[in-house]
Subunit: 330 residues, 2 copies
């Protein structure tokens, strides 16, 4: 028995998800959907380079699936849960399971409690299961620290620091960190939400939820990192003194204390990229991921690896923390 | 609603489990059982130093529970699954849930496939859930690497190295690593199984199972670490040249390759204690727990933290990997 899979969204992550899924013995990619005029109608085999997918045309809408009902959809198209909701509601009605990369969906009740409840209710009625995953959010700043505290008697506070060398990453990431902007433009666009890293607050909310902390304040800040010298990447160039990345930070105050800090630096030519997690507790834990959990390959892995795990839980809009670590599918 | 808890086994880990459980709002310790004549009949409040438990006598057997049916038993008494089976079967018949520190129970099918199947079947019939957990086995060499590979597309091999400074640990651990023995005695007693670390093979078997590797060979070796100078601890002394600890190692060969190495060094005066995990894969991961996940406090935390998670899964003898990361109880 193989899982019939539809890919929804054919950006770089979506294409790579298709490629990885086709290597899994439990998965059969039956179709892909992308609204974009430069994708819809094209040959999926050609787009992905996977010969076995030749002859499958990219569909312009879910409706075009016709009677082909997938077991699971990989949804990689938007960061905001409000936008995801519109795309996922029809899938929920069909009773189709979804693993999504939507950052806000990691903890959808934070921004959209009403929509989250609505989607959850619908899923429970139709038997659909939905969950969001990824590397950040979805692992480094939430699931990994929550995995570590399985062996902690008491947790006073958690601090996570992630440094990403954006020079090694793809163009969209180099742009979304504000590369090339003046500091004022950076601040304006960060406030507008048109740049910056999505999902930091959701990581904070998930950790806070699991630890049962009574949230008093969740603050997010974003500052530009300024280039100390001229920087040139394959995609763009940044003059000295202009923005070459961002320093974004979320802090949780609960029970009168700073309980959680998520500190993210993503910038061009960053030295010593790493993920570091400190648990203040009993016992204290001090964990270092040398080099950090690297980018897009890991995100795609998180999506694909989550699929069999999702199928073992009760229907509903689920949190990633509700899934078992492993489930053998078929 | 609180979970009615019985503690089975009142060694150092059992006593500490009681102490930690009494701090949890979801738990109510209703009784404790220990066969040992120096424990049975004694006052649990006095033994644990927890005033709220004053007046509860330690029971000499499960039978003495009478009509008090616990929701869950913390079982901390033996390392071998065969011995655990005899203690857990009556609990399975009563439909009582169990979180155990029994090392072999982390992957009971390795040593005792028939007994494991029998207990699983019984649990499914009565509605009992049972699982084993801990730090090692139960976290550092199995659950933690398996948590890390959630973000790996491909896993070629996993290597875990753990160095424990036994000087900082309790007397039973200092003894079970062979402290003071001559090398020949160490080897003889390691072969007999009367010293050494239990559960290394079970960690290897669990990882192998989850990764779906077809096991060709699982080899375990144990060597003494010899004292380079005279060592004195609060509990014992070791002359130069005698055993001051052990170097134990498990290796898994599968699909023509060495896929897994679990390398454990526990010795007196060990420098730079740590846990290190390398994942050869895509992406590669290199993780260091500075100082290592420290000892008994962490083991007790693992036991207590596992209880609410266990209650969310289907009845049966479960693997730790089948549990969700988090479940809010009550």
């Amino acid at each position: 028995m193989r899982m019939k899979i539809v890919q929804f969204g054919l950006g770089p992550i979506g294409l790579e998800t298709v490629r990885l899924a086709t290597t899994k013995p439990w998965a059969e990619v039956i179709a892909a959907v992308d609204y974009a005029p430069d994708k819809a109608g094209r040959d999926l085999g050609q787009l992905t380079g996977i010969a076995a997918l030749r002859g499958k045309r990219v569909l312009a809408s879910l409706g075009a699936l016709g009677r082909q009902k997938p077991d699971l959809v990989f949804h990689t198209s938007v960061s905001r849960f409000q936008a995801a909701f519109a795309q996922l509601e029809p899938l929920a009605r069909m009773g189709v399971n979804v693993v999504s990369s939507c950052e806000e969906m990691l903890f959808p009740a934070l921004q959209e409690p009403v929509l989250a409840r609505k989607l959850d209710k619908l899923c429970r009625r139709t038997g659909a299961r939905m969950v969001a995953t990824g590397v950040n959010p979805g692992f480094v700043m939430d699931i990994l620290p929550l995995s570590l505290i399985q062996v902690a008697r008491e947790v006073e506070a958690i601090h996570v620091q992630r440094v990403v060398n954006a020079s090694t990453r793809r163009e969209p990431l180099q742009r979304k960190i504000g590369s090339g902007l003046g500091p004022d433009d950076f601040h304006r666009r960060f406030r507008e939400g048109s740049l910056g890293h999505a999902g930091l607050k959701e990581s904070a909310a998930l950790v806070t939820h699991v630890l049962g902390w009574k949230l008093q304040r969740l603050v997010e800040t974003g500052e530009p990192v300024l280039a100390r010298h001229h920087i040139q990447t394959p995609y763009l160039s940044v003059k000295k003194g202009r923005t070459c990345g961002l320093h974004q930070r979320a802090e949780v105050m609960a029970a009168g204390k700073r309980r959680l800090t998520l500190d993210l630096r993503m910038y061009l030519d960053a030295e010593n990229p790493h993920d570091a997690i400190q648990i203040d507790g009993e016992p204290a834990l001090d964990v270092l991921v040398r080099g950090g959990v690297a980018g897009d390959g890991a995100t795609v892995a998180a999506l694909v690896n989550t699929a069999p795990r999702l199928l073992s839980v009760e229907p509903g809009l689920r949190l990633l923390t509700e899934l078992p670590l492993h489930n053998r599918f078929a």
